[in-house]
């Protein structure tokens, strides 16, 4: 990656929750303009925390970045508010949906356009676009989102972020709880927006298979540290990645029935 | 205590429980200012036979538990508290249980429990100058006089609008007794603390159209009652307040609309011309040593505080006559002093209370010492006396006091003092 077109640059950050729980222990990575970068890693690796650090949502969780720096287009952003970041085009889709339960789906989507200043017509156009991406939302548009199904909520959350016309989206587990068809759909939306509108994506995903198929570059996080990084292509062919993140062994895909009780431990955890 | 402090300059400590904040602050503050000013005045004029009067305020916010805390905080200060004045019926009840243990007299001038006038049972309580039963009794007397005799009360309707607390309920037994005697119709209308919402009370009054309304309020309840009376068109002339409902804060912001409203004066009213008031202005406020704003000096509640302080000081003086002039008196000694008060008119006049007060004489059986009351009326800008002096009817009150106090004695397993014990 050349530094010339770096959009986001995270420099060995350390994050502590509640003054005592150290979660990120020096994480560095960067996202190029118009790139799709994937953050991979197991449960509790710190993906969500990393995204929160970037979008400045840590404060609400009583967490804080205690070391390192985060730069957006060369500007330090640690002191900005999340709203400032949205104005700069960076928006996060939070893990766990976080829809506004009392608002209808359509209202939820419209809140996403709060920061836009380009007029009602433009917003309406985007709304139409989102409904095109997720037709299911259109049929349920008047339901209070708290009463919609998990997947519908997930679509709402993604759609809501798109409503802001962002230049960069931080996607936290977008595929969670979505039907396979919709997962495909979501990733093709990502690709679509990336190619057509030049939107940059940073995605934290458990669905490594999908993520690596669509991303350009990947970082693997374990225990609050980056343990591996590389072009998506290379990662996909890495033996460890294959075994631990893609569920492939030399003999092809293993059946879930055949998983052994005790397996080789990940080298980097030793 | 006295011995221990013998060598130092003699000091007599007066604890002052006050409320200068919260819902009742507008009424609590002038009382406290009067009280403190009088103590300062005593010191400016040579102390209590040379003994310096010291004091310390403690804020209670009119809450019983904070009053208890203040009591505990101050009772052993300054060589021991002379006497406590709780200025709240709730606190009086609580301190009544504590005072005998700590041997500190409790002066409740114009409030507290009415049956505590019986000093044989309530050894440590001094409801000097009048209890609520006295107040209620005089109100009925006054109304009877207006109507032209007690027999004219028959069939009349009288409503009591009262603060829904022990304070407001104190007069009820007496009024009921009087209603039985004279055949008037008594209706009871409680108002919840602090008394800002009285619409339904006054709707009921509008419906009943009572001949008189007695107002037993405190703080904002009084002015609200007057405003509601105006709003429902009830004539203020027919309203009579207890002495805690007859001061400037009760009518000040009602102004013209309260014109004609009457209230009891617990002997004194607003006394801007009294000598003691002039003394205070000259000796304290002129030198910027006064407490509170200057124009408040002489107002009704200010005078109430001032007189309360005076009674405490006089108790000490009387005690010194027996236990040694120029010495600090203990609570026990002060108790004797308060029980044997003899404030003649001459003495009062000499102290600057001419026209303000009548003589006060206490005894073992009578801890009240005086039951003289008159009525004053708000003329739109100030309080003016509008009646002669009345005295509560012993025949009505005495049996009630005896009955209630003996019941208390029985509950508490107290043997009332006999006249012989009293003499000691």
């Amino acid at each position: 990656m050349t530094t010339a077109n770096l959009l986001l640059n995270v420099n060995s950050i350390e994050v502590i929750y509640n003054h005592v729980i150290l979660v990120l222990k020096g994480v560095s990575f960067s996202v190029p303009e118009r790139g799709i970068v994937a953050l991979l890693g197991g449960n509790g690796a710190g993906k969500t925390t990393t995204l929160r650090a970037v979008s400045n949502l840590l404060a609400g969780e009583r967490g804080a970045v205690t070391k390192g720096s985060i730069e957006l287009r060369g500007e330090r952003i640690e002191a900005l508010t999340p709203a400032d970041l949205v104005k700069r085009g960076v928006i996060q889709v939070m893990e766990g949906r976080h829809c506004f339960g009392h608002l209808t789906i359509e209202e939820n989507l419209l809140t996403g356009s709060y920061t836009r200043t380009d007029g009602k017509a433009a917003v309406a156009a985007t709304l139409e676009k989102v409904y095109n991406y997720f037709p299911r939302l259109k049929t349920r548009r008047t339901s209070q989102s708290a009463y919609t199904s998990g997947g519908e909520q997930q679509m709402t959350a993604i759609g809501r972020a798109l409503m802001a016309n962002p230049s960069m989206v931080l996607l936290d587990e977008p595929s969670m709880g979505l039907a396979p068809q919709i997962v495909d759909e979501v990733f093709s939306i990502v690709k679509d927006l990336n190619q057509k509108e030049g939107v940059t994506f940073l995605l934290a995903e458990q669905n490594t298979n999908m993520a690596l198929r669509y991303a350009d570059f990947g970082y693997i996080l374990e225990n609050g540290r980056v343990v591996m990084e590389g072009q998506a292509e290379d990662l996909r062919n890495n033996e460890d990645v294959k075994e631990f993140y893609l569920g492939l062994s030399s003999a092809g895909r293993k059946s879930f029935r055949e998983v052994k009780h005790y397996r080789r431990r990940k080298r980097w955890l030793a | 205590h006295a011995q221990a402090k013998g060598k130092q300059a003699q000091e007599q400590f007066f604890p002052v429980l006050v409320y200068r904040t919260g819902a009742y602050a507008p009424n609590g503050a002038p009382w406290a200012n009067g009280f403190v000013d009088y103590i300062k005045l005593v010191n400016a004029t040579g102390g209590i036979n040379g003994v310096k009067a010291t004091f310390e305020e403690c804020e209670t916010g009119y809450a019983t538990d904070r009053s208890v805390e203040c009591y505990e905080r101050l009772k052993n200060k300054g060589g021991g508290a002379t006497a406590f004045q709780s200025l709240s019926t709730g606190a009086t009840f609580a301190l009544t249980e504590k005072a005998p243990v700590d041997k500190i007299p409790l002066i409740t001038a114009g409030y507290g429990r009415s049956e505590s006038a019986n000093g044989a049972v309530f050894t440590w309580n001094f409801p000097l100058l009048g209890t609520y039963w006295v107040g209620a009794d005089v109100l009925i007397q006054h109304i009877a006089k207006k109507e032209g005799g007690f027999d004219k009360l028959k069939g009349k309707k009288i409503s009591l609008v009262y603060h829904d607390s022990p304070y407001g309920k104190e007069p009820i037994p007496l009024l009921q007794e009087r209603a039985k005697m004279h055949g008037f119709d008594l209706s009871l209308l409680p108002v919840a603390h602090p008394g800002v919402e009285q619409k339904s009370t006054w709707l009921q009054i509008r419906q009943n159209r009572p001949d008189y309304v007695l107002l037993w309020g405190w703080g904002v309840m009084n002015s609200t009652a007057l405003k509601e009376a105006q709003a429902t068109g009830y004539p203020r002339e027919k309203m009579y307040g207890i002495w805690w409902a007859g001061a400037e804060p009760d009518v000040k912001d009602v102004g013209e609309a309260a014109k004609g409203y009457n209230a009891l004066a617990m002997q004194h009213g607003a006394e801007p011309d009294a000598k003691v008031v002039k003394d205070i202005l000259a000796k304290l406020h002129a030198k910027n040593e006064g407490t509170g704003p200057k124009d408040e000096v002489g107002s009704v509640l200010y005078m109430r505080g001032l007189i309360s302080a005076m009674l405490g000081v006089e108790g000490v003086k009387r005690a010194q006559e027996r236990y040694g002039k120029g010495k600090t008196m203990t609570g026990e000694q002060v108790r004797w002093g308060l029980e044997n008060l003899d404030l003649t008119q001459q003495k009062l006049d000499a102290m600057g209370f001419a026209g303000v007060m009548r003589p006060v004489q206490t005894s073992c059986l009578d801890h009240m010492g005086s039951s003289w009351v008159r009525v004053h009326t708000w003329n739109g800008s100030k309080w003016q006396f509008s009646s002669d002096w009345y005295q509560a009817d012993e025949k009505v009150i005495r049996p009630m006091v005896m009955h209630a106090s003996l019941k208390y004695a029985e509950e508490k397993k107290i043997t009332p003092r006999t006249p012989e014990q009293c003499k000691q």
Partner: protein, 260 residues
């Protein structure tokens, strides 16, 4: 393998459920046999979670019947369902956030604890003994699910995947006969899904628990389940063995998409 699929233990007949204008379930019938792993799949909003909610009484269907071990119910209620040995996990994790992992799992033993409130207050014999007995049982489950290291951690602090595991542990603590799992593997990576599959298979295998499973990962569903039912917008569009379902063109177009 000792597992033997038995008789129908749970049978839903012509169940319909709607909310206002939305028909979440329309005339659905399906059965679950003892000891089997029964999967429910379908697109988002198809009514899968609603189905579980009907089974354990969180939702009351407008029509239809639930037959549990031969007993007929118009509708269930959650407490009755729990007593009848039905346990479940939740799609949007519903753990008790303020409690530790251990306490969360202990709540699963609630129905089995009999000491009264006085015995508990005084920590008297029965209460104390009971507490220890059940603790031992819960520890077995903790060992089984390999969450020993987080026993004392408040669940709110755990990463998503581990919370799912605790959710499962709590359900297992009820020693249920029927276990309803709502997307137990959402938000997990392959490795964790493998672990989870193993747990589910072991429970099914060793304890003989009947399992109803909702899952969007076709790999898991196909490998693990005995029979699959497919819902689409409240209607049943397929039912049968994984292979049958996989080949069903209606299912492919409604749910799987071309690539699977």
């Amino acid at each position: 393998m000792t597992r033997q699929i038995g008789e129908v233990i749970l049978d839903l007949q012509n169940v319909s459920l709607s909310f206002g204008g939305v028909n979440a379930l329309t005339d659905i019938s399906f059965d679950v046999r003892e000891h089997e792993i029964r999967a429910i799949i379908g697109p988002n909003g198809a009514g899968k979670s609603s189905m579980l909610n009907v089974i354990n009484g969180v939702y009351r269907p407008q029509a239809g019947e639930i037959i549990l071990r031969g007993e007929h119910f118009r509708q269930m209620n959650p407490y009755k369902a729990a007593c009848a040995g039905i346990a479940r996990t939740f799609q949007n994790i519903a753990l008790f956030k303020g409690m530790s992992v251990l306490d969360n799992i202990m709540t699963g033993r609630n129905l089995k604890m009999k000491a009264n409130i006085f015995q508990q207050a005084f920590w008297m014999g029965a209460a104390r003994r009971e507490e220890l007995e059940h603790r031992a049982k819960v520890e077995e489950i903790i060992d089984f699910l390999e969450i020993q290291h987080i026993r004392k951690t408040p669940v709110g602090r755990l990463p998503y995947g581990l919370q799912k595991r605790v959710d499962l542990a709590r359900a297992l603590a009820m020693e249920p006969q029927i276990l309803l799992l709502d997307e137990p593997m959402a938000g997990m990576n392959i490795e964790e899904k493998q672990d989870m599959s193993r747990f589910i298979l072991d429970v099914n295998d060793q304890m003989g628990t009947t399992i109803v499973l909702i899952e969007h990962d076709m790999g898991v569903v196909m490998d693990v389940s005995d029979r699959v039912v497919v819902l689409d917008y409240g209607k049943k569009i397929g039912d049968g063995s994984p292979d049958e379902v996989r080949g069903n063109p209606e299912v492919i177009s409604a749910y799987l998409g071309a690539s699977h």
